[in-house]
């Protein structure tokens, strides 16, 4: 007869959640799961349900009205304005921020340039600043009466503008502010992408007689493709969520010409307390963003690059 292996007598607790129990790994998930269930999963479902209800905060009763909010949204001129402006903003910022970001990264990657640490601080650092600090500084610069920009415009005998108070200019002023503020982030990503391209490729192209331009067009750009695609989609998603800049700098004006979707959510929900409608608008935004995200996953899963 074999001797029983000596084991420590296990307490009940150790048996149920000790290292060898099936429940043990879940202990590690527990703290995260608590936060996740309470502040992500539950609100997600509750938010969708609220969007199907008439629910004005003052009342405590939710009245189920199915998709009425969604159906009436397209007929709301304020929603239409915010929807269109958001798309304009996305269309303007995406190529601008990505183009300038790439240009900055190419500059910072020039081999003959000295003092790159300083250059990096000058070009990239604005993205670290607080959104309100950026907006306030630019409001001061774009000010109609004593603004810096108008001063130089008048020096150059160009027509001065009331940038933030003019229908055609206010949204564009927000676009420029956003460019200045966020371009550094994309620059960093592009720079990382550029540095991963093996030098051999450029040298081989040089030997084959490629100039700077064809080197960029046929070597650099194709190698950057994965980074580029990633940045494009991230930028589009970020641009759809524009709010703070508009809220601080223009308040959506003049005459709703710079009103955007998140602002519409904010005002409907938290100034007029129409929670149901606000949630419906948020879900429309969500669906738009989801389409772009899924497109990203589709595109990115196909990207492989071989040197």
């Amino acid at each position: 007869m074999k001797a029983k292996p000596k084991t420590r007598i296990k307490t009940g607790l150790e048996k149920s959640i000790g290292e060898n129990s099936v429940f043990y790994p879940y202990l590690y998930l527990l703290p995260y799961a608590l936060f996740f269930l309470i502040f992500w999963v539950y609100p997600l479902f509750d938010g969708f349900y609220v969007s199907l209800c008439r629910y004005d905060f003052a009342e405590t009763q939710r009245t189920f009205i199915a998709f009425k909010h969604y159906i009436s949204l397209p007929f709301d001129p304020l929603f239409r304005a915010s929807f269109i402006n958001t798309f304009i903003f996305v269309l303007e910022t995406t190529p601008l921020i990505i183009g300038v970001g790439l240009a900055f990264a190419l500059l910072l990657n020039l081999s003959f340039l000295k003092g790159k640490t300083v250059l990096r601080v000058l070009l990239i650092s604005p993205f670290m600043l607080s959104i309100a600090a950026v907006c306030m500084t630019w409001e001061w610069i774009l000010g109609s009466q004593f603004g810096l920009l108008n001063y130089y415009f008048s020096q150059l005998r160009l027509p001065t503008q009331t940038w933030l108070l003019e229908k055609g200019w206010s949204l564009f002023a927000v676009v420029l502010t956003t460019l200045w503020w966020t371009v550094g982030f994309n620059t960093i990503l592009f720079l990382a992408g550029l540095q991963e391209i093996p030098d051999v490729l450029h040298e081989a192209a040089k030997i084959d007689g490629a100039g700077r331009w064809s080197n960029f067009w046929y070597i650099t750009l194709p190698c950057l493709r994965p980074v580029l695609l990633f940045i494009i989609v991230m930028q589009i998603i970020a641009s759809f969520k524009i709010f703070g800049q508009v809220f601080i700098m223009t308040g959506g004006g003049p005459a709703e010409s710079s009103r955007v979707m998140v602002q519409h959510i904010y005002e409907t929900g938290f100034q007029y307390y129409r929670m149901g409608e606000a949630s419906a608008i948020a879900w429309v935004l969500f669906v738009i963003i989801m389409v772009f995200t899924l497109a990203q996953f589709k595109v990115l899963s196909k990207q492989t690059i071989e040197y």
């Binding site: 936060f35 996740f36 250059l119 990096r120 600090a133 306030m136 409001e139 960093i188 929900g269 969500f286």
Partner: protein, 280 residues
């Protein structure tokens, strides 16, 4: 040949100078901000403009820091406190869960991980209304909790850390196991110390997200004591008559520390963003 080299050198010099000039112009809004903050109020609005103040004064800073009804200290402290609390809680909960997802085996592992990751697609804007309703029910609106707790369980942290943990060679853990090391000890004595770059990256990313957070604090907070920096500045600015000297002093107060931090930690920050942005 010597001449051609010289011409090339001059060319490159000119190009470099142009690039630096452009970079300086790009940076000039920050210089203008500081310049305005140092001017006496009556000189802030004058044409022609003076980049270098004709007389330098610190009265704007004095007023913003000591005199105003609401001074800059409280919001600055609030923002730092909230960001730090979120960072600590995020690193703790995410690293524990990421450890389970990457190193342990359990039922439903893949399904649960997929569930967490699929929330990466959800813009937080869609959660504004229901989170507000939830916190209202819990009577947490207008408290630090309202600004800290909802920000903790971001799916991004788990994703990033799990990827990183998977890359840690298993030999180390196997050796530790043979020596009788418990799983929890492997987590905090092997996995965590080896993951410093990923943890630092997540910390920086979390800090930036919370430091710049605007929409949620705007909704969740309405008392002066709990204002974060962005909300404070926005309120300061909405007070009617704008005193640009004061406002720019307030803006400088919250901007300069961050700029100095960026100058010092440049390499780390850039590395962190590359790690979170591209690999994440």
């Amino acid at each position: 040949m010597v001449k051609r080299n010289l011409i090339k050198k001059i060319n490159l010099g000119v190009i470099s100078a142009l690039i630096f000039a452009f970079a300086l112009i790009w940076f000039s809004p920050i210089l203008w901000m500081v310049s305005t903050s140092l001017k006496p109020e009556k000189y802030t609005i004058e044409w022609p403009i003076h980049w270098i103040p004709r007389s330098v004064t610190l009265e704007n800073y004095y007023s913003v820091i000591f005199e105003s009804v609401i001074n800059i200290f409280r919001p600055f402290f609030n923002s730092l406190f909230i960001a730090s609390a979120v960072i600590v809680l995020t690193l703790l909960t995410s690293s524990l869960a990421a450890y389970a997802f990457s190193q342990l085996r359990f039922k439903g592992q893949n399904v649960l991980f997929f569930l967490v990751i699929s929330t990466l697609m959800i813009p937080e804007e869609v959660l504004l209304v229901p989170r507000y309703l939830l916190l209202y029910k819990l009577q947490m609106i207008n408290s630090y909790n309202a600004l800290i707790l909802p920000m903790v369980a971001s799916p991004f942290g788990i994703f990033l850390l799990r990827q990183f943990f998977l890359g840690i060679p298993r030999d180390l853990q196997d050796a530790a196991r043979i020596d009788g090391c418990s799983k929890f000890r492997i987590y905090y004595q092997i996995i965590l110390p080896l993951s410093k770059p990923a943890l630092a990256a997540l910390a920086i990313f979390t800090f930036l997200a919370n430091w710049n957070s605007f929409t949620w604090p705007l909704i969740a907070i309405d008392s002066i004591e709990l204002m974060t920096v962005p909300i404070f500045l926005a309120t300061f600015h909405a007070f009617g008559v704008i005193m640009w000297g004061r406002l720019m002093a307030a803006v400088s107060c919250v901007t300069l520390p961050i700029l100095i931090f960026f100058c010092i930690a440049q390499r780390g920050i850039i590395k962190g963003i590359t790690l979170t942005g591209l690999k994440g």
